[in-house]
């Protein structure tokens, strides 16, 4: 089981968290202008990275808040967790 460092509550077991998919996907500002191809990209296409992956988690059985994390999908080790709205810490990404 993973130990996940919630930026608001600290380290807790994975059971308290819900995974919420790839991070930094921005909903289109003006959806009506998108064509089908762009919609498919936004809705369905994912990076599915083998390596350092930026992803969202929610501390569902804790504070309830969403946050982002950088995790290496080849080892499941977290490099960093950071708050929604902030950029991924570059140092952590390089530290791999």
């Amino acid at each position: 089981m993973l130990i996940i460092d919630c930026p608001y509550c600290g380290k807790r077991p994975e059971l308290e968290f819900a995974y919420a998919g790839q991070a930094h996907l921005v909903r289109p500002r003006d959806p009506s202008t998108l064509d089908d191809e762009a919609w498919a990209q936004f809705l369905y296409m994912r990076a599915n990275t083998r390596g350092m992956h930026a992803e969202r988690w929610r501390h569902a059985r804790g504070c309830g808040r969403f946050f982002n994390a950088l995790r290496d999908t080849t080892s499941d080790r977290f490099a960093a967790t950071y708050r929604i709205g902030t950029a991924p810490p570059v140092a952590a990404e390089d530290a791999r």
Binding site: M1, A18, A40, Y44, R46, N48, R50, E55, T73
Partner: protein, 419 residues
């Protein structure tokens, strides 16, 4: 190339001659500079595609590249369940195509894949389950796929160990039974296809990982960069399961896939006690007994994407809790081994078997948690797609473009596994 044929006589002869006369089942091939077609991925889907390309489409100058060893990925890691009771017409056609090939596969390959149509029983525990299961029964029968509804006492008659007491948390309210479903020996599927493809001249190259896809100026495929050098080919079929996104990214193609760990475990071997396959999607229990005597138990996927081929213990515990409640007799069984495989899951839980935007590049992926059952059918239509540069009618709906065009084949609820 002539191969030893297996028969009752050859087995007896082997027994009398101390089993020393057996040949290798396939050659250790060295990569040639170029091939007419290359399959990436030496699991059941890839080896099967190579076999059908050679047998039905006359393409014998082909290679299968495998980064590890034959059948060492999901082909050797799944729980070997075979069934075709999917809801939608497109899925029923695809999976039943596979079941029909399973039924004659051992004879065709002259290799015993131990296909055992012992019946797959899917349990219903709630009113909603019951309604969904009955809908499946009716939809399947309209599509010529056998499926029947059992009341709890009939379910217990079919699987006597089943606990149908109504005082448990999720009592059994009934079950849908596909009698043509069952299990097969997963390793034998890879080995049988490898042996048959090799006999037709296919080069099976292990320990050869693809590191890049080289393109022609016009855009088409020129060949593959691998850990064993460049290999030219104008046709490449990718059947790389959990690593499909990684391979396809080398040609700049993004797919609607996410790769998750899926776990399974087996118990200590015991005498035959469990006559069928029982599945419960509501409480995540999938169980059968192998011919070695182990209970083979499938757990759910972990919550997060990963390429680690392992998962967390609490996922297994969740499944074992359900097994213990459904089959109280197994409460003191000890588990021997657990492991994980990486499954590539699509948003609609249906596979992709299709051409891609790159000419000469084809993909068979997105099988999620249920690719084993489809192995021969998927391999057969994938070979057709590669050979003719157009889909077989059975896999025509399973395109990448369906996500753009809105023609999803939404088996998310129907696939009956823990997504």
């Amino acid at each position: 190339m002539s191969r030893q044929r297996f028969s009752a006589l050859s087995l007896i002869r082997g027994g009398l001659s101390r089993q020393v006369g057996w040949q290798a089942q396939w050659r250790k091939a060295e990569p040639k500079p170029s091939y007419d077609a290359i399959i990436v991925g030496g699991g059941g889907h890839g080896l099967g595609a190579a076999y059908y390309l050679a047998k039905e489409h006359g393409l014998t100058n082909i290679a299968v590249l495998e980064k590890g060893w034959i059948g060492g990925g999901n082909t050797g890691r799944n729980t070997t369940i075979i069934r075709s009771n999917y809801l939608f017409n497109e899925s029923a056609a695809l999976y039943d195509h596979a079941v029909k090939i399973w039924e004659r596969m051992s004879q065709e390959l002259n290799y015993n894949v131990m296909f055992s149509p012992r019946g797959v029983m899917m349990l219903a525990h709630t009113v909603h389950d019951t309604q969904v299961a009955k809908r499946h029964v009716h939809a399947n029968r309209c599509n010529g796929v056998d499926n029947e509804w059992l009341e709890p006492d009939q379910a217990k008659a079919f699987c006597p160990l089943l606990n149908i007491e109504q005082n448990i948390r999720y009592p059994v309210l009934g079950a849908a039974l596909q009698r043509r479903g069952g299990t097969a020996r997963h390793d034998a599927v890879a080995w049988g296809y490898a042996r048959a493809a090799d006999a037709l001249g296919v080069d099976i190259i292990e320990n050869c990982e693809v590191t890049g896809i080289r393109r022609l100026a016009a855009g088409g495929v020129a060949g593959l960069e691998t850990t064993r050098g460049f290999i030219a080919s104008s046709k490449v079929g990718v059947a790389a399961a959990g690593n499909t996104s990684v391979v396809m990214q080398m040609a700049g193609i993004k797919l609607p896939l996410e790769s998750f760990p899926l776990q399974a475990l087996v118990s200590e071997p015991v005498k035959p006690v469990f006559p069928c396959v029982v599945m419960s999607n509501t409480i995540h229990a999938y169980i059968s007994q192998s011919d070695k005597g182990e209970l083979v138990i499938g757990a759910g996927t972990d919550a997060y994407t990963s390429y680690t081929q392992r998962g967390a213990l609490h996922i297994n515990m969740h499944t074992l809790d359900a097994i213990c409640e459904l089959f109280p007799m197994f409460r003191r069984m000890r588990m021997l081994r657990n492991w994980g495989g990486i499954v590539d899951v699509t948003p609609d839980r249906s596979p992709i078997i299709a051409k891609t935007a790159v000419p000469g590049l084809y993909v068979n992926c997105g099988w999620g948690t249920g690719g084993f059952k489809a192995t021969p059918g998927a391999a057969h239509v994938f070979a057709w797609t590669i050979a003719r540069d157009q889909p077989h009618p059975i896999n025509a709906p399973f395109t990448i473009e369906r996500f753009r065009d809105g023609f999803l084949i939404d088996e998310a609820a129907a696939a009956a596994v823990a997504h």
